[in-house]
Every structure is written in structure tokens, then in C-alpha cells.
């Protein structure tokens, strides 16, 4: 294994000590039964999208260790069969993704092979924009698929925000919405009402105002103010409560911890979007000396996601949550002479959660039948989007994606 301690330090900005932190006892999630017929939007499922910025090398993530072509094409980057965490006789997880291996064995992690889209673009900006708009054929598309998803359900409630971006970078285009304002936060505190000026404590003002029958805008403001106060209290309570869940000291883990808290607070957020690899082109873009950096990022992803999953499982919340990774493209099969890889095409998507029907979906793409040096996709990423929208969130993917993509039968819903 050539993944050095220094690589880890570089990628994590600190020792990977495990922190013991306190989280609250499970919230009892009692939801009022919906009145009348079963609406599509009465679910409380949550989607967490994790963007791996820069184009993740799927081949060194889910490694076809038994394929001679893999060894032949990757003279310096190849991962040895003795080191990978074997999934079956052909593929295994990257050596530092021990946590993914555990999640997989526990049935909480799934791999969808061979994801991509027709006539895919190999520049970061364009390809990422395609994944964000979910409309590669429309270069003028000005909204992201998650932004449209939020817009599509806003009318049902109008008071609570169905989507949030959690992370230190600028909000990705995937959340750009025509109507709703989607907040970007770094910690759950960003969604709570802070203390008033001149006061050290948060004051619990009574926020009940009668409805004004005459002015719909004032009514809306009063309703939202009441919800803001109530939601803020719930988040405060969760943030203050003790919980013993352990998260590693990675930035992504902290983000997942924040998401877990907001899920516990139960304030109506259905979509979380976060990111690994940093703004700009992104840390997954390794044209040279890929091994160490990629290893560190995969380790962070794997440990952070596992901490999140087991934290939620402990509180019996895992069956409400589905995590999905996206990345703008995979990478070339053959390494490039600088111990790196070029921009490619097909790559796997990971799903994690408590309601996965199958752990391996689709076949691993061929390493010899290539398109300009990269593996060909067999499943359009918008089928995965349609799956999480229709099957998981209960939204209408057809209105969000402009046409009906065939969902995959991969979830127990």
C-alpha cells in the first residue's frame, strides 16, 4: 500500500483521531396521519447527495482486481488483490475503504455500476453542469435538478424549506431553483435563531399572532415566523442533547454529523446536498500521482459515511435515509505515464441507507470495449435520479427531469 501517513495528513488537515461526541436520544417521530387520500408528498424520507468533485476514478474505488486488463493498464496505480476488500471473485473495495466493506456486508451500501450518459462531456465544468442540470442536451438550462425538486414540492407547504446545502463551498448549481431560496449552511446552528442583541441567552419570545384575513403576505410571514421559531427550538434541542455516536475528524464527517442532527430535529428537510473534494475542479481530479490523494479522499468518504449510517441506525432513523454519491465522470482505464489518469466516462454510483433491495446493480463495464480510452456507461444517471425522486422521495421525476426515465428496482419502497 503506497498510501502514506503524510497523504492522510495532507487530505484531512489533522490526525484521524476518533472523536466521541454526544448526540441525543432518539426523537420519537410522530407524524400526523395525512388527511384524505395518500398524497405523494406525505413521506418523511430523506435524500443525501454527496458530490465527489473532480471525477472519481471508479476503477480504483471498486477495483476489478481479478481482471488482467486492470493490472495491464495500471502499472503503477494498480491495487493488489491481497489488499482490496473483496466483494466477489472479480471486484473489491479500495484497501482503505474498510468501512465501505463493512457497510456492504451489513447491507447498507449498494453499488450501481456503469453510470454515465450519452455523448458525455469530458471537461469538468460542462460535465458537472450536466450532472447538476440533469439536462445535458440543454446548454441554456438554468436550474439544477435538486432545485427543481425543491420547487416542485414548495407549493404543498410553502413554509418549510425542503432542501439545504451543507458545506463550506459555494452552493453547487444542482440546487439552483427558479423560485425557492435554498439555504447554504455549515452547521445546524446556521438554521437556528441566535440570541437577540443585548442578550446573552436566546429569548423565547411568544410568537403567536392572529391570522390577518385581509393580507395573505402578512399571513405567510406570520406562519413562517411561527415555524421558524418552532424549528429553531427543535434544532437547538438536538444540538444540545447528548449522543455517543462517534465520527472521525474529517470535514465530511462533521457535515454528516450536522445532517444527522437536522434529520433528528425533523424540521421538514427532505434533501441534503454536500460535497467532498473542495470547490473548483475538485480533489478527485488526479492527473498525476493519484494514488495517495485518492486514497485519502476515499478513506474520508468511507469512514464518514459509515459513521453517519451507524449513527442513524442506532436511533432507528436509517430506514428514512438514502445517501447517493455523484461525480462528473470516471477516468481513463489506462494510466497516463504520470501516475495519474485522464477524464473518462462511466463510473459507479454508491447508495447507502437502510432500505436497499440489492447491493450490486448492473454489470461492471468492460475494460476492453472502450470509448476513447474510457469505460462505456450502460445506465443513464438520470435513471438513478428518477429512482431517488420517484421511488424514494415520492416526488414526480417527470416534472423535474422533463421526461420519465425508467426507475431502477433497487429500493425497498
Amino acid at each position: 500500500m503506497s498510501c502514506t501517513r503524510r497523504d492522510f495528513l495532507k487530505a484531512t488537515m489533522g490526525a484521524a483521531t476518533m472523536l466521541s461526541l454526544a448526540l441525543p436520544a432518539p426523537n420519537v417521530l410522530v407524524r400526523a396521519a395525512s388527511t384524505g387520500d395518500a398524497q405523494r408528498d406525505d413521506r418523511d424520507t430523506v435524500l443525501v447527495v454527496v458530490q465527489l468533485s473532480g471525477g472519481n476514478d471508479g476503477l480504483n474505488t471498486v477495483v476489478p482486481y481479478a481482471d488482467d486488463e486492470y493490472a495491464r493498464n495500471r502499472p503503477t496505480l494498480r491495487l493488489q488483490s491481497k489488499d482490496v476488500h473483496k466483494i466477489d471473485s472479480y471486484i473489491g473495495f479500495h484497501p482503505r475503504m474498510e468501512a465501505f466493506s463493512r457497510l456492504y456486508k451489513d447491507g447498507y451500501l449498494g453499488i450501481i455500476h456503469g453510470i454515465g450518459y450519452p455523448n458525455s462531456d469530458r471537461s469538468h465544468d460542462v460535465a458537472m453542469r450536466h450532472w447538476h442540470t440533469a439536462k445535458p442536451g440543454d446548454p441554456n438550462c438554468q436550474t439544477g435538478w435538486l432545485g427543481r425538486a425543491a420547487d416542485s414540492v414548495w407549493y404543498a407547504n410553502q413554509k418549510d424549506m425542503p432542501a439545504v446545502f451543507v458545506g463550506p463551498i459555494a452552493q453547487p448549481f444542482g440546487m439552483r431553483a427558479e423560485h425557492v431560496i435554498i439555504p447554504s449552511i455549515q452547521t445546524p446552528d446556521d438554521l437556528t435563531i441566535g440570541p437577540a442583541p443585548g442578550e446573552s441567552q436566546r429569548k423565547r419570545a411568544v410568537e403567536s399572532f392572529h391570522a390577518d384575513k385581509d393580507n395573505p403576505l402578512l399571513n405567510h410571514l406570520r406562519d413562517c415566523t411561527a415555524n421558524a421559531t418552532a424549528n429553531s427550538r427543535r434544532i437547538d434541542a438536538v444540538v444540545k442533547a447528548t449522543n455517543t455516536a462517534e465520527y472521525p475528524s474529517f470535514r465530511l464527517a462533521e457535515t454528516f454529523r450536522a445532517v444527522a442532527k437536522l434529520i433528528r430535529a425533523d424540521v421538514g428537510i427532505r434533501i441534503f446536498f454536500t460535497e467532498l473534494g473542495g470547490g473548483g475542479i475538485g480533489g478527485f481530479d488526479n492527473h498525476a500521482n493519484q494514488l495517495g490523494n485518492h486514497c485519502a479522499l476515499l478513506h474520508q468518504l468511507s469512514e464518514s459515511l459509515a459513521a453517519f449510517v451507524y449513527d442513524l441506525r442506532k436511533d432507528k432513523l436509517l430506514d428514512r435515509v438514502l445517501v447517493m454519491t455523484i461525480s462528473e465522470f470516471g477516468r481513463t482505464v489506462k494510466e497516463n505515464g504520470r501516475r495519474g489518469t485522464g477524464h473518462g466516462e462511466a463510473a459507479p454510483i454508491f447508495l447507502a441507507g437502510g432500505e436497499l433491495k440489492s447491493r450490486l446493480v448492473g454489470s461492471h463495464p468492460s475494460l476492453t470495449d472502450l470509448d476513447n480510452g474510457a469505460m462505456k456507461f450502460h445506465t443513464d444517471f438520470r435513471r438513478v435520479y428518477a429512482t431517488v425522486l420517484d421511488k424514494w422521495l415520492g416526488f414526480e421525476s417527470r416534472t423535474i427531469l422533463d421526461r420519465q426515465y425508467e426507475p431502477l428496482d433497487i429500493l425497498n419502497v
Binding site: H179, G194, A196, E199, L218, N227, N231
Partner: protein
């Protein structure tokens, strides 16, 4: 009031100049209303002066203030031109909104920014974005015709639309589509064929190295048929034809109605018709704005608090009332969190506005911004001090400070239970009054009513 609502159905009365009478007196609430719409809120002196001057004289001043406005704007233009960064451009614009002697001009520049909705992230040039907003400002209260001509030749606009190359062999429909669908006629008032033909008229124009260029051999000289007219049309002909369409004038009047009068309901056709007809004659924006502001309708319950403040109005309203300026670099970031990233409207449709500004997380963010502005420490420092402002105007006792702040921010126009909810400063430690007044001001600007424009 019922009689008034009834009268509003008569468009002649609705658009006639408001003259205060016993039933509809000129008072602090009306003055506050006017300053929320035609400016970014008011300070105490402005409100008092307005009470003395009466509505029409106050509107005269808002439309054409005294002072060297050109010089003020020239200075700011130079500051802006000297910066190469979008962050600084945002900060300069917000500072201009706060400091300007002509707030209505900035209010209308913001209106046109949302209307033409050009996005800096796509243009990728602070210089071009600066020139773009300068173009908006130059005609913000000028001629919509000249504005539209400028827009169709604006490098930032063409880059944003992906219309930087208009070849004869491959006419680019992006500019024509944006023009017809978003900037003028609106959906349903043109056909796909009109759009294609207009695109042919736009051929020959290119943005090369950020500069607009015309290449005659790339212009399609053949006959075009656009909106029922036939001829060898070029760019300016298309604009002329579009401006001749009644739909263009009507759409802009409706949009301005939503900006200046009410977001709660769509205006009746009868109400819009006389203004649309008049606007179509000369596309004089100042005249249209003036008609709306001076009208009975504007000073009626149909308009009063019938808009939701955009984040800039919310924040600058607090700053202006407290007679100071704050760090606008910080403010630009905070407004982004509230959903209003200047120079970066969400889509070509601009900011949706209205109820969309507000949801429970936006309320949390507005409250926390108000707290930051009023705290007296932290990112905004000690610039805003409500007690100092109250004392400056002669209010020093606990009850009078409370009354002053309610008048200043909300003209005390509140239901009695709401009016009672912000607690007055209570006697305590000697140095407690300032802190208590901050807390009180916060309680007032976080009332739902303060979010209404």
C-alpha cells in the same frame, strides 16, 4: 375603506393624483409606505420632512432630488471600474444603495437587474458586469427603448445568453428568445417562426474578446417576416417591431405594478390599459413610475404592505433608519444567504419575489442578520446604535424611545397586540439602556410586519 376599494375599480380615479382628505389623510404610515417603495426606507428626518411637504412634493423630491447626483454616480462608477472583483462590485452597489442621494434610481436599477437577470457567474467578467449595470442605471428612469437597444448590444448580456456568435449560416436564437419571452412580449405573443426570423435579423453580431463586433458578411440580408411585418430587417428593426406590440407595453406595466404597487393580486386589465397605452407611446419609464407613485391606488389599502421586502430592502431599511452605513462586503454575503446574490439572479426570470422570499429558514436568516446589524459588535461593528439615534431626535426616556423606534421602523401601524409585544427598555443597570434599546429595535425589525414593503 370599502368606498375606496369600490372607487379603485375606476381606473381614472385609481391613477389620478392622490390628494389627502379627511378619509385618506397624509400621515406617517403613508410617508413610510412611500419611502419603502420609492427608496430603501427612510430616516427620521426624511419621514418628518415628508409629513411637512405632503405627498406630491415628497414624490417630486424622490423623482428628482436636489444635489449633484451625476457627480455622486460618476465617483462610484470610477470606484467600480477600478475593481476587478465581483465581491467588490457587490459591495459597491450596496454602498451606493445606502449612500445615494437618488434612492429611486437604485431601486429601479435593481428592478431592471431582476428583469434582465444577467448572471455574473456565466459572464465571468467583473468589468462587463459593471458596464451592464451601468447601462441599467443610465436608463433606469429613462427610456425603455434606449435601454432595450443597449441590452441587445451589451457584451455581458450576449455572453450570458450564449449569443456571442450570430452567424448567417447558423442564426443563434438565444437573444431573440430572451427578448421576446423574458424582456418584452412574453409567452404566447410570438411564434417559433417569429423567433427564427428575428434571429436571422440579429446575424452579423459577435462578441470577440469582450467587445461587440459587427461583421457585415455574416448578416443575413434576405427578407424576414416578424410579427406580421415583412422586410430586410436588422437588429434595431426587430426592437422597433417588438416595441410596437401592445403586449410589450402591457407586460412591463404589469411587472412594474408588481414592483411598486402590489404582489398580492394580478391587476385587472382595465386598470393596466390606460398606463400601457400611454407607456407604449414613448416608453418613458420616469413618467410611468411617476404616475404609479402619485396615484390614489398607490396610497390605497390595495397597495399598502402588499409587497414583501427583498433582502436588500430589508437590510438597508434598517441601516437607513439608523442613519449610518455598514460594511457592505459583509452585507453582500449575508444577502446571498437570504437568496439575493446581486449580479447573480437565479435564472433569466430574475428573482421570483413575493412569498418566495420567505420560508422558515429565510425568517431565521433575516432575524440573524438583524441581530448582527444591531448587536454593536461582531462583523458589523458598532455602526448602528438605535439609542443614539433616538437621543439625537430628542427621545431619551424609556417609553419615548420605544414609541420612537416603533414610529421609525413601522410608523406604529400595528394591531394592538403586536404593538405591545416589543418590550420597552426597563430600568436596570446604568449602562443597560443601550443594550435594551438594541434588543428592542431587534424585536421591532423581526416582527412579520417589518418584512412587508
Amino acid at each position: 375603506m370599502a368606498a375606496q376599494i369600490e372607487k379603485l375599480k375606476d381606473s381614472g380615479w385609481a391613477w389620478a393624483e392622490y390628494e389627502p382628505d379627511a378619509e385618506r389623510p397624509w400621515n406617517l404610515a403613508q410617508a413610510g409606505h412611500l419611502y419603502r417603495r420609492a427608496a430603501f426606507g427612510a430616516g427620521w428626518d426624511q419621514l418628518q420632512q415628508a409629513l411637512t411637504d405632503g405627498p406630491q412634493r415628497t414624490i417630486d423630491i424622490l423623482l428628482q432630488p436636489q444635489g449633484d447626483i451625476a457627480e455622486f454616480n460618476r465617483t462610484y462608477d470610477e470606484y467600480e471600474a477600478a475593481t476587478g472583483s465581483m465581491d467588490q462590485l457587490r459591495a459597491w452597489w450596496l454602498r451606493r444603495m445606502i449612500q445615494t442621494p437618488h434612492p429611486l434610481l437604485e431601486k429601479m436599477t435593481l428592478f431592471w437587474h431582476s428583469h434582465f437577470a444577467t448572471n455574473a457567474a456565466e459572464v465571468k467578467s467583473a468589468r462587463l458586469m459593471q458596464q451592464h449595470v451601468l447601462l441599467l442605471r443610465n436608463q433606469a428612469l429613462g427610456s425603455f427603448r434606449i435601454l432595450l437597444e443597449g441590452i441587445s448590444q451589451d457584451s455581458a448580456m450576449l455572453l450570458w445568453l450564449g449569443a456571442e456568435a450570430n452567424r448567417k449560416a447558423r442564426p443563434n436564437e438565444n437573444l431573440a428568445r430572451a427578448l421576446m419571452e423574458n424582456f418584452t412580449l412574453g409567452p404566447g405573443h410570438y411564434t417559433a417562426k417569429d423567433l427564427q426570423e428575428a434571429s436571422r435579423a440579429f446575424t452579423g453580431w459577435f462578441v470577440l474578446r469582450s467587445k461587440l463586433r459587427y461583421i457585415p458578411r455574416e448578416h443575413d440580408e434576405n427578407e424576414k417576416q416578424i410579427l406580421g411585418r415583412k422586410g430586410n430587417f436588422a437588429r434595431d428593426d426587430v426592437l422597433r417591431i417588438i416595441l410596437e406590440q401592445p403586449a410589450t407595453s402591457r407586460r412591463l406595466v404589469c411587472k412594474l405594478y408588481r414592483w411598486l404597487i402590489s404582489e398580492t393580486d394580478k391587476p385587472e386589465e382595465d386598470l393596466i390599459a390606460p398606463l400601457a397605452e400611454s407607456f407604449a407611446k414613448d416608453y418613458d419609464v420616469l413618467k410611468l413610475v411617476e404616475t404609479m407613485l402619485r396615484s390614489n391606488l398607490f396610497f390605497s389599502p390595495a397597495a399598502y404592505r402588499r409587497r414583501i421586502k427583498c433582502p436588500a430592502e430589508f437590510a438597508i431599511g434598517i441601516v437607513n433608519a439608523l442613519e449610518e452605513s455598514v460594511s457592505t462586503t459583509q452585507l453582500a454575503n449575508d444577502l446571498t444567504d437570504l437568496g439575493q446574490n446581486l449580479y447573480d439572479p437565479p435564472t433569466i426570470k430574475g428573482w421570483a419575489g413575493g412569498k418566495h422570499w420567505i420560508n422558515s429558514t429565510a425568517i431565521v436568516a433575516r432575524r440573524n442578520l438583524a441581530a448582527a446589524l444591531l448587536r454593536g459588535s461582531g462583523p458589523y461593528g458598532n455602526k448602528l446604535n438605535p439609542l443614539v439615534v433616538a437621543q439625537r431626535h430628542g427621545y431619551a426616556t424609556h417609553e419615548s424611545v420605544r414609541q420612537f423606534l416603533l414610529d421609525l421602523f413601522l410608523q406604529s401601524d400595528l394591531d394592538s397586540d403586536v404593538y405591545d409585544s416589543p418590550q420597552k427598555p426597563v430600568s436596570g443597570k446604568d449602562d443597560g439602556m443601550e443594550e435594551q434599546t438594541r434588543s428592542l429595535a431587534y424585536a421591532i425589525v423581526t416582527l412579520p410586519e417589518f418584512n412587508l414593503a
